[in-house]
Symmetry: C3
Subunit: 148 residues, 3 copies
């Protein structure tokens, strides 16, 4: 089954890609690796542990994952060229005593595995940042192995 068919089966529509918030590009390919710029959640903002609860932040991370898949599609034309999600860095806007970053970033990781299957299984770090741009709750960057 193509990834597009899989998205339909899952009732997933890819969102619009928000423009970059600075002097950089959405993605750079080098060899078979595609480096995606960090993408952020919205519209919810604030620090998980005080302003935002885990379930809300999980949904934020899932939404970031959808944006990242939309970027992959824009860069590659076909999502079937995604060979492997290699590495995810999950950045959670965190209160100092919040320690459940992995549960938050699972929102993105679960999505990648639902959509890409074994090719969606990735290495990951999910950690706490004191502040993110515009105080978004979650920002995620990813490295993808692609085929021609």
């Amino acid at each position: 089954m193509s990834i597009e068919d899989r998205l339909k089966e899952l009732n997933i529509e890819l969102p619009e890609i928000p423009g970059p918030g600075g002097n950089y590009v959405p993605a750079v390919r080098t060899g078979n690796l595609l480096y995606l710029s960090g993408k952020g959640s919205g519209p919810s903002t604030g620090k998980v542990g005080t302003d935002v609860d885990i379930e809300t932040a999980y949904q934020d991370a899932r939404r970031v994952g959808l944006v990242l898949i939309a970027v992959m599609k824009a860069e590659l034309e076909s999502l079937d060229r995604v060979n492997r999600i290699v590495k995810v860095l999950g950045m959670v806007n965190s209160a100092p005593d919040f320690g459940e970053q992995p549960k938050v970033i699972n929102g993105c990781s679960d999505l990648f595995v639902e959509v890409f299957g074994d090719k969606g299984k990735h290495a990951r770090s999910a950690v706490g940042f004191v502040a993110l741009p515009g105080q978004i709750t979650v920002e995620i960057e990813v490295i993808v192995e692609v085929s021609d």
Copy 2:
């Protein structure tokens, strides 16, 4: 000398690998690069600069390095296939006024150089995070160049 012999010479026994704390895998290989997921210290927790002192955190970072070597061995079967430790990201759970992250992450870096010699010399960033999963003191992720 094989790396296994070097470990014996250094009286190092590799620890058990703790399971992933989320929906991700311990490592992904793409081409000659092996991306390892972030691994954390334990059992000590807390922020360096207030709850934890530098020497304790240095030992935590060394222990994380041992876990990372154990992951390399599990992925590669033989540690002699480690061609180069390419890049280390050292994440220190830090009080806002703590600025000695490099001294902490040296616990891992010193280990890598002891074990792998010149192949263990890596590029690195060592910086302060407001919070880490479970409030561990140190988390480290690494990229390794491997040979077949």
Copy 3:
């Protein structure tokens, strides 16, 4: 035009490279990728949003970019071997309510595009850290695709 000529045209003199603050090397090459260790600003220190304003931090980020270019030159001998700035991680020492990290890291990104043109356009994340080594304002690490 060679990159050296371009630097002259822009009246840019590359700074001295500060030594590593720990047991690591300035850069590691694997295949066509050169991983540069995180480099920090100076002499200004403190957290952006409270101790340091955006314009000062922008200049700090530009200065870090100059150091990173100096590292590229030291590693590659000729800056014309820089094929592409692939990925930038911009780390801003941030007050908890500061959310303009992209404006700060543009100091480095603008420089890379000025100097390298299209080859300087990179993927990026620019996010907030609770603390950096020596309480520098900005630290940046970069991955570069190089040619022989």
